[in-house]
């Protein structure tokens, strides 16, 4: 969690406030960027082969490596680490309270 006082004039907040503060989220963002670039560069450099005689390397890698790795990576992060999805506030009760207050 962030500190209790947020100074919007501080350079960190002013220029790079969009970049996450939590260490684990920073690693996740950088990891994803690296993964995007890896994906873009890995496809052109894959050997142009037909796996099992017909499946192009690109389709095979998409189905069995890239997508599954992505699903696992994001699933683990969102289930275990992301503060927003794992905060202490029971979401529905919290929102219902908010709606009542707004009404």
């Amino acid at each position: 969690m962030e500190k209790n006082v947020i100074d919007m004039k501080k350079p960190r907040e002013r220029f790079f406030g969009w970049f996450p503060h939590e260490k684990v989220t920073k690693i996740f963002v950088l990891g994803n960027l690296a993964y995007f670039f890896f994906c873009c560069f890995v496809w052109p450099n894959l050997p142009p082969r037909l796996i099992w005689g017909w499946w192009t390397t690109y389709q095979w890698v998409t189905n069995f490596v890239i997508c599954n790795w992505a699903a696992a990576m994001w699933g683990i992060y969102y289930y275990k680490f992301w503060p927003l999805l794992n905060d202490d506030i029971e979401n529905d009760e919290f929102l219902q309270e908010e709606v009542k207050i707004n009404e």
Binding site: M1, E2, K3, N4, V5, I6, D7, M8, K9, K10, E13, R14, F15, G17, W18, P20, N32, F36, F37, C39, C40, F41, W43, P44, N45, P48, L50, W52, G53, W54, W55, T56, T57, Y58, Q59, T62, N63, I66, C67, N68, A70, A71, A72, W74, G75, Y78, Y79, W82, L84, L85, N91, D92, L95, E98, V99, N102
Partner: protein
């Protein structure tokens, strides 16, 4: 019996099933009930709905044709799985705020987050304008699909009119809930029928040898597995651009973003982050199979310029009538699921962003006003259909050639405002307006005037300008303290307080 008549009967059977499913799942008659299915969808219905909304009828016919022209680099450029990343990053946060504040459309969030009616209206108007060509071309795909599959027995115009009547009726009566249930049915068709057809054609045409089929394709199209491909498209920068334009930024498209409000709970988004990428890649598999089989059979005889008819040609000339019907159902599945999402989105823009804000000002009772606005929205669905028929039949060049190619990267221009509005406390209305306007101008210039500067896709230029100008204006302007507290601290850090803002 005449094969054209059989196909027509099958289309009518599909229509009856669609009406049955969508009417059984019909929505409650309130704005939130009709447009957002009372925010009640679990992960499976959400994944089917979002995936089928993105994967259009044009993509179903266009992707195998793209493979036929540009080789298997098409697979690399799909990037379907990336939306799995976005479900929680954008979806969860916007759902949480939207549920709290009763938002229905994308413009609702942007209007309030950027404390600007003008910006909200600009977004609504842009979305409404670009929904029309995108949706009309789904009607064109259906018209072509039916007329080619029946060898002209059912005319293009009749097919388009039939499709419009079907969409109009079930969106009017079914609402978001009916559409959601229908998306499950359509996703099952989209997963099974292309694969079944591919297996049948390989079994009969290539003696069941997939290796023989692939080698034939490679012999006829030696550049099939080359990078950057026969047209030089598959450079890393352009693969990234296609991933962005085709999928990542589509999460903010007008027919997709409102679907994110429909989720039931926060767990829905966690589950979607895993199920989404897997659903996407398996959905694409059958379609890519058809592309390779089409290449093996037609490369060298069918000109690249006519490759859009590859799928109907492939099935009508190489498989019995039942497979023509199956693929036609798949086309319907992809085209209806995109068109109905657009129709509902257009109706919610008219009802919520236009009529609710500027009409019925004398009605004080919110329930009565909500009901009146909903009726206008539902009627606007019916009014939209004749416009779609007119565009699909006349196909004016300025819509087909310009508006459509502008629409998809055009939708993406609110992506920086959405994601920065969710994660950057300093996001201001000046930044949002500057970013969106400059992004749209850059997109027009790089798409139509200086086409693809340095061989790089216009979406990279336009989003680059959009993000940079947003950031530059954001650091020299200040948001109101109330907005920072209401949209950031409340959800991220309720105990914190903000200092250093003058307003």
């Amino acid at each position: 019996m005449n094969s054209g008549l059989i196909v027509l009967i099958s289309v009518i059977i599909y229509g009856v099933i669609v009406l049955y499913i969508s009417l059984r799942g019909r929505s409650i008659n309130t704005t939130e009930g009709y447009f957002l299915a009372s925010r009640s969808f679990g992960w499976f219905i959400m994944v089917c709905s979002v995936t089928m909304g993105i994967f259009s009828g044009l993509a179903f016919y266009g992707s195998p044709a793209f493979f036929f022209r540009s080789g298997s680099g098409t697979t690399a450029a799909t990037g379907f799985f990336l939306t799995g990343l976005m479900y929680p990053v954008i979806g969860y946060k916007i759902w949480r705020i939207g549920k709290d504040k009763g938002y229905v459309t994308a413009a609702d969030f942007l209007r309030n987050r950027y404390y600007s009616n003008g910006y909200g209206n600009l977004v609504s108007l842009l979305q409404l304008v670009f929904i029309i060509p995108y949706m009309a071309l789904q009607f064109v795909a259906i018209g072509n699909g039916i007329s080619v599959s029946t060898n002209g027995y059912v005319s293009f115009s009749f097919s388009v009119i039939l499709f419009a009547i079907l969409i109009g009726i079930y969106v009017y009566f079914g609402g978001a809930k009916g559409i959601g249930w229908l998306d499950i049915f359509n996703a099952l068709i989209g997963l099974v029928m292309p694969v079944a057809t591919a297996i049948f054609i390989v079994t009969t045409k290539f003696n069941g040898s997939w290796g023989n089929m692939a080698q034939t394709a490679l012999t006829k199209f030696p550049e099939m597995m080359d990078f950057p491909g026969p047209q030089g498209l598959w450079k890393p920068g352009n693969i990234f651009a296609y991933m962005l334009s085709g999928n990542l930024v589509l999460i903010v498209a007008p027919h997709i973003l409102p679907k994110l409000y429909m989720a039931k709970s926060k767990d829905t988004f966690k589950q979607m982050s895993i199920a989404g990428p897997i659903m996407y890649c398996w959905l694409a598999m059958g379609i890519m199979m058809l592309g390779m089989i089409g290449t093996a059979i037609y490369k060298g005889t069918l000109p690249d310029s006519q490759s859009d008819i590859l799928v109907p040609l492939l099935v009508s000339e190489n498989a019995p009538l039942i497979f023509t019907i199956m693929l036609l159902w798949a086309l319907f599945a992809f085209a209806t699921s995109t068109s109905d999402a657009f129709a509902l989105s257009a109706a919610s823009l008219i009802s919520n962003d236009l009529v609710k804000r500027y009409g019925y000002k004398k009605i004080k009772d919110p329930v009565v006003k909500d009901n009146k606005c909903l009726q206008v929205g539902k009627i606007s669905v019916l009014c939209l259909m004749p416009i779609m028929i007119w565009i699909a039949i006349l196909r004016p060049a300025y819509i087909v050639d310009y508006a459509y190619s502008f629409a998809s990267p055009g939708f993406a221009q609110i992506f920086p405002a959405v994601i920065m509005g969710l994660y950057w406390k300093r996001s201001t209305k000046e930044a949002a307006i500057t970013g969106t306007v400059l992004g749209l101008i850059t997109l027009s210039l790089t798409l139509f005037v200086w086409k693809w500067p340095l061989g790089i896709h216009p979406i990279i230029w336009s989003l680059g300008v959009n993000f940079i100008s947003f950031w530059l204006v954001g650091i020299v302007t200040e948001p109101p303290k109330k907005i920072v507290e209401e949209y950031h601290l409340k959800y991220e850090n309720p105990n914190a307080q903000v200092i250093g803002l003058s307003k």
